[in-house]
């Protein structure tokens, strides 16, 4: 394990900041929280760089930490947040036109939502998605298909 991993992590965090920020934002739906989530993730990554075994996993490892941090923050908010849904809808409708699909996406189980987001929005390969969520490739595939099915049904119902 080389100490320069830390520098590499630092560099990648800064380079890829927009991607990590958008990913966090897609969960948290507001600027302050998304920034917090990415910063927390950066702290975690830099403190636990020793758990990164090989640099070829750097990107998926960072994605994983950002996702975990975003989900943790999201859960914490829904515990403490009170009128969270209203806030969420406000900012959502600000930015998104396809609120029906977006809402269906948010309603998915967290892991499924992560899989869809990484695959379609971040455009990761399925094998990379599998690394991020740490599941076998085939499980990821079947969860993805199932999630898409759910989205399709949700849209039908709304239509």
């Amino acid at each position: 394990m080389r100490p320069d991993h830390r520098q590499l992590i630092e560099q990648r965090l800064l380079e890829q900041y927009p991607r990590f920020y958008r990913l966090a934002y897609s969960y948290l739906k507001n600027e302050a929280d998304a920034q917090d989530a990415v910063q927390d993730a950066a702290c975690k990554a830099l403190r636990s760089w020793k758990t990164l075994r090989e640099t070829k996993y750097l990107d998926t490892w960072l994605y994983r930490i950002v996702v975990n941090q975003s989900v943790t923050l999201l859960r914490a908010k829904s515990r403490w947040g009170g009128d969270e849904t209203e806030l969420e809808n406000l900012s959502v409708e600000d930015r998104y036109e396809n609120t029906d699909l977006l809402r269906a996406l948010d309603a998915l189980e967290t892991t499924d939502r992560t899989i869809v987001t990484l695959r379609y929005f971040e455009e990761l390969k399925l094998s990379e998605v599998a690394e991020v969520v740490q599941m076998p490739l085939n499980t990821v595939k079947s969860r993805l298909y199932r999630a898409l099915e759910k989205l399709r049904n949700a849209l039908k119902e709304e239509a």
């Binding site: 394990m1 965090l13 830099l46 758990t51 699909l101 379609y120 929005f121 076998p136 499980t139």
Partner: protein, 289 residues
């Protein structure tokens, strides 16, 4: 394009147009600098120590796996054999809401003097103490919000007339987890700590034979079960599994077959965890020292 695909594509465009806060990157850079300043005080992190110790061990390690009866017949070798016992030297436990540790330090006890046992004991104690110190430093810095769970356990995985193999298992879970094993193989007959490559004759191609055997097993397993996946035959051959390392973790089973083990991510995606392969003795027997 059906309706949903169209919507997903639009959603992707909207996702891409999420605005990045003007000073976001700058804030992140400040945060990183802050973390680094804190970290500089505790630069002795666990894995670097593991690496260091593995390297130190490699230096200590030597020599042949002479046949037990031959060694006994020669009579001039210190035959330790018989009584090797592994006990818990000390145990450190911490149990908080967001941080926990369960760390055990094993010690090999022998009937007579054993240089190999001494080497392993020293190396193990140094390592486990380092892990414990790192955990305590984490606690001191972050209190119970450390969000760190650490486990160090040991197990005697082989104990035959000729071999004692002590396995040390470390799990360090923070944002994401890391698990790794370290095997200490003691040749009881010759009282040596032995790494994989030292089992074989000089210039032997045993490691290649073993590696090829493992690759065949990987392919067979992948063909038989679609949930199984290894780093082999991929689009990026340079990142595939090539060959076992000189100091690859190993042990012998009761029949003298080699069990080669890999840490998670070493030859397979994280979802596969740590994996092991049994290589039949016939594959490498002719190459043994």
């Amino acid at each position: 394009m059906n309706d949903m695909e169209k919507k997903l594509t639009q959603l992707k465009q909207e996702y891409d147009s999420i605005q990045i806060p003007e000073h976001g990157r700058e804030h992140l850079r400040n945060k990183i600098n802050e973390v680094n300043t804190m970290n500089d005080n505790k630069n002795n992190s666990v894995l670097r120590r593991v690496a260091g110790i593995a390297a130190a061990l490699a230096l200590l390690i030597a020599l042949p796996n002479t046949n037990a009866s031959l060694a006994a017949a020669l009579g001039d070798l210190p035959v330790v054999g018989g009584f090797f016992q592994v006990v818990t030297l000390r145990s450190y436990q911490y149990d908080g809401d967001n941080a926990s540790a369960s760390i055990e330090t094993p010690e090999i006890k022998t009937e007579g003097e054993s240089e190999a046992a001494k080497q392993v004991n020293e190396s193990v104690t140094e390592y486990v103490d380092a892990v414990t110190d790192d955990f305590k430093a984490q606690l001191a810095e972050y209190g119970d919000a450390a969000n760190t769970d650490v486990t160090v356990e040991y197990e005697v995985v082989t104990d035959t007339e000729d071999w004692l193999t002590l396995r040390l298992y470390t799990e360090w879970v923070e944002a994401s987890g890391a698990q790794f094993y370290k095997y200490y193989n003691i040749d009881k007959t010759n009282d040596k700590v032995v790494q994989l490559s030292d089992l074989f004759q000089e210039n032997s191609d045993a490691l290649t034979l073993i590696s090829e055997n493992i690759k065949t097993q990987m392919r067979e397993q992948m063909a038989a079960n679609e949930n199984v996946s290894y780093f082999i035959d991929s689009d990026m051959p340079e990142e595939d599994f090539q060959q076992v390392k000189d100091d690859q973790n190993y042990r012998f089973d009761e029949d003298g077959n080699l069990i080669i083990t890999f840490d998670e991510y070493e030859v397979a995606p994280g979802s596969m965890g740590a994996v092991e392969f049994t290589v039949e003795r016939s594959v490498f027997e002719s190459q043994l020292k």
